[in-house]
Subunit: 149 residues, 10 copies
Amino acid sequence: MDPIMTKAAVAEQVVTARLRAGLTWQEIADKVGTPLVWTTAALLGRHPMSAEQAAAACELLGLGDDVAEGLRLQPYRTRDDAVATDPTIYRFHEALSVYGPALKELIHEEFGDGIMSAINFTVDVSRRPDPDGDRVVVTFDGKFLDYRW
Amino acid sequence: MDPIMTKAAVAEQVVTARLRAGLTWQEIADKVGTPLVWTTAALLGRHPMSAEQAAAACELLGLGDDVAEGLRLQPYRTRDDAVATDPTIYRFHEALSVYGPALKELIHEEFGDGIMSAINFTVDVSRRPDPDGDRVVVTFDGKFLDYRW
Amino acid sequence: MDPIMTKAAVAEQVVTARLRAGLTWQEIADKVGTPLVWTTAALLGRHPMSAEQAAAACELLGLGDDVAEGLRLQPYRTRDDAVATDPTIYRFHEALSVYGPALKELIHEEFGDGIMSAINFTVDVSRRPDPDGDRVVVTFDGKFLDYRW
Amino acid sequence: MDPIMTKAAVAEQVVTARLRAGLTWQEIADKVGTPLVWTTAALLGRHPMSAEQAAAACELLGLGDDVAEGLRLQPYRTRDDAVATDPTIYRFHEALSVYGPALKELIHEEFGDGIMSAINFTVDVSRRPDPDGDRVVVTFDGKFLDYRW
Amino acid sequence: MDPIMTKAAVAEQVVTARLRAGLTWQEIADKVGTPLVWTTAALLGRHPMSAEQAAAACELLGLGDDVAEGLRLQPYRTRDDAVATDPTIYRFHEALSVYGPALKELIHEEFGDGIMSAINFTVDVSRRPDPDGDRVVVTFDGKFLDYRW
Amino acid sequence: MDPIMTKAAVAEQVVTARLRAGLTWQEIADKVGTPLVWTTAALLGRHPMSAEQAAAACELLGLGDDVAEGLRLQPYRTRDDAVATDPTIYRFHEALSVYGPALKELIHEEFGDGIMSAINFTVDVSRRPDPDGDRVVVTFDGKFLDYRW
Amino acid sequence: MDPIMTKAAVAEQVVTARLRAGLTWQEIADKVGTPLVWTTAALLGRHPMSAEQAAAACELLGLGDDVAEGLRLQPYRTRDDAVATDPTIYRFHEALSVYGPALKELIHEEFGDGIMSAINFTVDVSRRPDPDGDRVVVTFDGKFLDYRW
Amino acid sequence: MDPIMTKAAVAEQVVTARLRAGLTWQEIADKVGTPLVWTTAALLGRHPMSAEQAAAACELLGLGDDVAEGLRLQPYRTRDDAVATDPTIYRFHEALSVYGPALKELIHEEFGDGIMSAINFTVDVSRRPDPDGDRVVVTFDGKFLDYRW
Amino acid sequence: MDPIMTKAAVAEQVVTARLRAGLTWQEIADKVGTPLVWTTAALLGRHPMSAEQAAAACELLGLGDDVAEGLRLQPYRTRDDAVATDPTIYRFHEALSVYGPALKELIHEEFGDGIMSAINFTVDVSRRPDPDGDRVVVTFDGKFLDYRW
Amino acid sequence: MDPIMTKAAVAEQVVTARLRAGLTWQEIADKVGTPLVWTTAALLGRHPMSAEQAAAACELLGLGDDVAEGLRLQPYRTRDDAVATDPTIYRFHEALSVYGPALKELIHEEFGDGIMSAINFTVDVSRRPDPDGDRVVVTFDGKFLDYRW
């Protein structure tokens, strides 16, 4: 039996098809009807898509049912330490390394003992014009969860 | 010669004095006249303070000149892999692990080949009320730097 | 000679066949006549199956003798550090990181010097309804083994 | 200024005082009025105690205000890879290594895409008599959190 | 309160006292009335001793009640990767690296799916005379535990 | 030129052929005329076989000259850290972690400064009946080598 | 759909074609019209090329459109720890290990708190004749970025 | 006997004395009569100083003979992976990660098979004014060594 | 375009051809006209060969132009930590672990501050007869390089 | 009881005393009557000394009985990965990384399957004059041990 396409193979198909078709991630997100970052992450293999979402994406990208089947698969969201060294991604980890303890202090002061959820969570990226050079603005927005026995 | 107090020893003094005096990080930041996250990070050893900033913080906290001298010191901002496993901090790294490739795609699509600076950079944390449970909102705001030869 | 199918290839076949046939893990476990978690683990490659168990599973899933042969193979149960970073699995390891020393203290207080066996051992997962949100309940149940010379 | 006692130093004091006074963890938990595993974990440095909880524990154990101050401190709950190799604790990690993928499959099948919270979470340990040797039963009970954008 | 002496400090005292008194490990084991390897391991911090065992060892070695208290403490038996590189110890790990898969095959063939317990377990070391050079003979003897649901 | 079959490919052929032919490792060892553990290790790729030994094994297993050629190849005996986490093999490493320093003390006391050879070395595994459950007995037997300049 | 050629496959094609055609990196850079080190890095997969640059390189090298497509792809610039151990590359890392703290001190003294950008950055390599043996001269030239909130 | 001050303790003394005296590294280098980067590295513990150099530095910094003795000591120049994560230092390693293979190609093309020496080697750091922001220029200058049997 | 054969594939061809032809490494070295260890290392992929050397080796071994092309390729000489655990190779690393600091002291005492070059360097291996068992003698011979600014 | 001085503390005393007394390692070796490298290694903590050897060394160095007691102690010869990155020591490991597989091939060709002992083993370092720069010559000389069941 031909096994389900892996998330890595699915992402490779999506990346190829998107570039050849000259589509933006926003155009795909609009077609699928889901938020931009969520859609991009899902197409790269980090969220399962519903059958309708997968079909819409594949229709726009000109990809087949095998890709759609793979997009619906429940993923493993494992950490890839090599990916974390890509400079575009590394700067975020570095910022957390520098400011992580301060964020921890301020979250505990404001909310008490607990965490920002990474599951009940959204992330957004946008451009903020600035005369000294435009800025990348990334917002993490997660439900506070208190340690509750 | 008594060596300058290390950043770790300085932070221990600040944490102790703050708790015993019952001060919030915001009250210290107001006294020093600097942004909240920056001030917290600096007092925990991640930024050097000016002489005036250090003196203001130590006066409020009832700490001596040795602490003020240590606050002025240029820090090493080294990564601490153990700190990164604290659940409050880990959730941020996990979110980057899940969404990092999507952020990379979207930054390159919007800005071209480059990165969000972690140096010309601010971070802010706030509470957003929500009927399903208030939310932690953390904003990364860094200048876009394009790969430029 | 065609080598025996690896456990990874077997699991890929099982995952594919299960999804395409629309079967639940419970339905497969009922067919095989073995406990739910054990059956799932075995089909994913963590326990060897008897010839009868393997045949029953493959019949239900529409898989061939090569898969059945692979299911009977004695596995290596090696640790995969990447898998451990998947958020669904990571939370268990994090809980052990937070509560492990407390569990150790209480096991020694109640039983003396020794361990909970991970071999003479069962694990169960269930849903517990709760008005604040249903809960995942996972029970580890292992024979106590005392350090005995 | 004498720095606040570290969580490690606090735990060392608690362990020493408990053994010399011949108290069980249950007796301390009864005095503090909190669950057994939570109390043990808090006294070992993994949860902050309220002022009343810390005072009650220190009174029973004959420990001073410096220990009580340390018990109230917000902890870092960092992972300690050496502790994870202690056989009593290792067996739990090994069980997760063997059964983690099966738990993941079954949680997703029952609840959909999401995780068991390790924050809105309790853990319990008990003895179950068994003619073939009594058993250690550890129950993880955490709120299900679905990936929710 | 003076904390209980750590296992490392206890071992340092034992090693020092043994060498200065010119005692063999066998003489200490005879005094304590316990097997040779077990006794050596316990004095080096890997097993808790009973009050009588600890008292007997300390009497022979001329060590005080603080050491005896430390000997009774329940240990963490954590792995130390540096110790594993000492050549005398490394050769055992290397032998397992070379022969581990063969041992696994033969244990499963003889006993079925399971393990040799490292808890219900003894180890012995002896000298076997040989004209080509005497030999170190180390015997591991552990109860077989079958994977039993 | 078709390259020599790798040791991994050879072992895969041996494992497959042995299971399909229903042969025990002892039967193969008897045919080859070599000790049980040595033979198993050699067939799994950890020792080179002579041409006669390889031919005898391949004849019994019904394998071709390409496998025999691979069995004669001088191996790399590299460490595989993942294999070491298989529970059946891990227990041996754990026992060394617990008892290694004691073995080192006793070897030095009995023999002086040196090591047990892992090269001039045999290992044996056997079953010892025991009313409380049969036991796995593994014997390491290596020539003592003293540090000799 | 045939996926876009990976950067590794592209680099393998470039390396092969360059050697077979007997071209120098400088000749390729001249053809592409870009700086030497930048061009070499881009062809090895570390920078995306424009369509014109990729076409020029492929024309000179006799490579097809699939390679040109791969050259235009946005790369991951992940760290490869094995590559860093190649002696020609390792010496640079070693020099940074020896002189890194001195460079840090001098950058902070001259510029204040900040970094040399690795993005707004050029690197050059040249030969400097020397009677005691010619010298490799590598110049890093990056914009200073001050920590600026 | 009071042991020689470690290089770490010496560096701590130098850093403290330099800051309290308000001296620049250049002023110290001028006094010692050695190049700027070399002097800074030596005072931070990476090169041994001659008796005259150490005496001159200590005289200027107001430090005693114990520091001078430590400055003369032959150092271990070990790598410190934590230091390498400081952002000011990390950018250099990142640049090597991105451009290392290109530098290797170009060195081999220009010089043949060999390396840039990190021993017969100098490094310099300077400021280059630039209307878009001044630049940090770091030059590595090492003798080429060819692989020569 | 068929890519150049990798060094790993080239080495696999050489190893296969050498064994099937029954040639010694010395015979190949004699044919190529280069030193024994150098030749062996080059054929295993650690040095580039000249066109003449590669042709001579391939002629003797009966290998084609594709192998010869691969032999001429400039190699990456990356470290392989798994290879370093092979017992035959590990003993050298262990000896350096035991004697490294002593070698460092004696090199510095005899030569001053510097290193033995591993580039301007030869290594030789020979057998030295000894009535207690013949000995492996390996000589490292490298030019001394002093730290020279 | 004052614990025996650790090997690290002993080595620190030896290094200090040697430098202050202006003695060479050879002079100490002559006094002790043992080979140069062995003596240096032993004084740095890698071999136990006899009572006579320790007394002779301490008499020459002007060190007390506590140091002599420490010199007699059986050492742990653990690997220190940081020490291995010191350039003087690293070059040896690099050479093994480059030539290790060649040495393995040649040892097996000459001696059969086995290793060079690192226990029945000597190492020597000497200077070889050379008009192009004197050379460091290090000889490893160990008994061949064949894999012998």
